[in-house]
């Protein structure tokens, strides 16, 4: 029950999804659409588990005055404030209008968006520091990495006079030809890896995700 049934379920649903692909008939489509819908709905229950985990970990920190407990309080404040606004308790608790709630939108626009965009823009700095730290001509492989990156980075630089057009042409060749070859090799490998792993999961060979009893 604890272990055999889940493995059987994985097998049945896995095989069904494979067969479904080859059967265009409406009835197979009908089951297919149900299954996909179900996964989304189960995901909502899982989200409840996640929020519960977040609250418990944060609250433990506050309760036992662990290091940085004050900031966990900030997390809880943000979480509950947003939930209160998102459900618009005072006025129209019952409808999705909470998502149009004035404060809900403002928390989104003035807290989430700026932080999100700034986190993303930190990449400009990290890409510079990574390049400085790692692009050293230590070995042949590192040198290839370095030279290719330099050529592409210089592709629109006008300060090289007569070589500039050649740099640009080399860069676009690098991006169109070897790039395509290497990506295709990786994609074929990844595709096989995914197919093999999925097959192992369906056949019950790979089962770490189920834990143990």
């Amino acid at each position: 029950m604890k272990r055999q049934l889940p493995l059987a379920l994985v097998f049945i649903f896995g095989i069904f999804m494979i067969i479904q692909y080859f059967v265009p008939h409406e009835s197979s489509e009908w089951v297919f659409e149900f299954l996909l819908d179900w996964i989304y709905i189960i995901g909502i229950f899982a989200l409840a588990l996640g929020i519960w985990s977040l609250i418990r970990v944060s609250w433990d920190k506050v309760k036992y005055r662990k290091e940085n407990w004050f900031y966990s309080l900030v997390t809880l404040f943000g979480l509950f404030a947003m939930i209160v606004f998102g459900f618009d308790y005072l006025r129209n608790f019952q409808t999705a209008e909470g998502l149009q709630n004035f404060m809900f939108r403002h928390f989104f626009d003035y807290i989430m968006i700026p932080i999100q965009a700034t986190m993303f823009s930190l990449l400009a700095f990290f890409i510079a520091s990574a390049a400085y730290r790692a692009f050293r001509a230590r070995s042949l492989l590192a040198t290839l990495l370095l030279v290719a990156a330099l050529i592409v980075m210089l592709r629109f630089n006008p300060y090289f006079g007569p070589i500039s057009p050649y740099l640009e042409k080399t860069a676009s060749w690098l991006l169109n030809v070897p790039n395509l070859a290497a990506k295709r090799a990786i994609v074929i490998g990844v595709g096989l890896g995914i197919v093999a792993t999925a097959l192992k999961v369906i056949l019950g060979i790979e089962r770490a995700y189920l834990g143990k009893d």
Partner: protein, 289 residues
């Protein structure tokens, strides 16, 4: 610790600080930068530049606010150039969420013509841009492929009236203008697959000169059309727009962004070179001992 060791192990916070400073300075200070011009952009510029005043070109603003950041600079540079040369323009916006944005852009550009400017040493007087005389904005209609085919017969087939509801025949510049035969070229500025329709249903069927303005990611896919001669020019992304701005001498938003890009790249390259000089020198040093 000698100087080369130091070159190799600069605290990355210096890298961050230096990059931040360079970006801020190049962003705020408005100094000119040199942009390498490629032939596929120059072709478009030359084409527009050599037309005679009164000639009509067709500009399709086929993108929506999603790709505005990359494509607006192109539209601004190109349309202003055309109007400074006293060309007349027929606009469409065949992207569903695009017409409002295109309308705003057209008005903004026409306002900018109120100011006299000197570009590339040529003085251009202030000029009032009049709807119907200097341009017609046809707007949006669904089924872009059919619209493009229909306009090859007569612009009035898909667009009996313009975006503002005026019948096309009430516009002086549309007098005698039936279809693509009366326009000198079509320039499609697009962020979607609509560009394929311009090539397949428009250029292939009616044979007008076609140039494309595309997002940086898309551009690479359309070079085969350049090689085959179906398209006479391509502007790709911010870089393409910056080249057009540079050619027309009209420094604008694309060059502003490119200035930051260029110097940020140089800073990163300098740091890479610094690290490698340090690395190679210390390695030689140690081997020497």
């Amino acid at each position: 610790m000698n100087i080369f060791d130091r070159l190799m192990s600069v605290d990355r916070r210096w890298v961050f600080l230096f990059l931040a400073l360079v970006c801020v300075i190049t962003y705020v200070a408005e100094f000119p930068v040199d942009i390498t011009v490629t032939y596929e952009v120059e072709n478009i510029y030359d084409f527009i530049d050599t037309l005679d005043p009164g000639d009509i070109i067709f500009v399709a603003i086929d993108y929506d606010p999603n790709s505005l950041a990359e494509l607006h600079p192109m539209t601004y540079a190109l349309v202003e150039h055309a109007w400074r040369k006293e060309l007349k323009i027929i606009f469409t916006a065949l992207s569903q969420n695009g017409p409002g944005m295109a309308d705003l852009a057209i008005r903004q550009i026409s306002d900018s013509l109120d100011i006299p400017r000197t570009y590339n040493g040529v003085e251009y007087p202030a000029r009032e841009i009049v709807n119907g005389k200097d341009y017609v904005f046809l707007g949006y209609k669904p089924y872009p492929a059919l619209v493009i085919v229909g306009m090859g017969q007569n612009f009035r087939i898909p667009f009996p009236t313009d975006y503002y509801g005026t019948p096309l025949d009430q516009h002086p510049m549309m007098k005698g203008v039936q279809n693509y035969d009366q326009v000198k070229c079509v320039i499609d500025i697009s962020g979607t697959s609509g560009v394929d329709m311009w090539i397949a249903y428009g250029q292939t069927r009616y044979g007008f000169p076609l140039a494309l303005g595309l997002t940086g990611v898309m551009a690479a896919d359309y070079y085969p059309y350049l090689n085959s001669g179906q398209v006479f020019g391509i502007m790709g992304g911010m870089l393409g727009a910056a080249q057009y701005e540079r050619l027309s001498g009209n420094t604008g938003r694309a060059i502003d962004a490119m200035r930051v890009q260029l110097y940020a790249h140089i800073v990163i390259i300098l740091f890479i070179i610094m690290g490698n000089v340090g690395f190679l020198m210390t390695r030689g040093h140690k081997e020497g001992l």
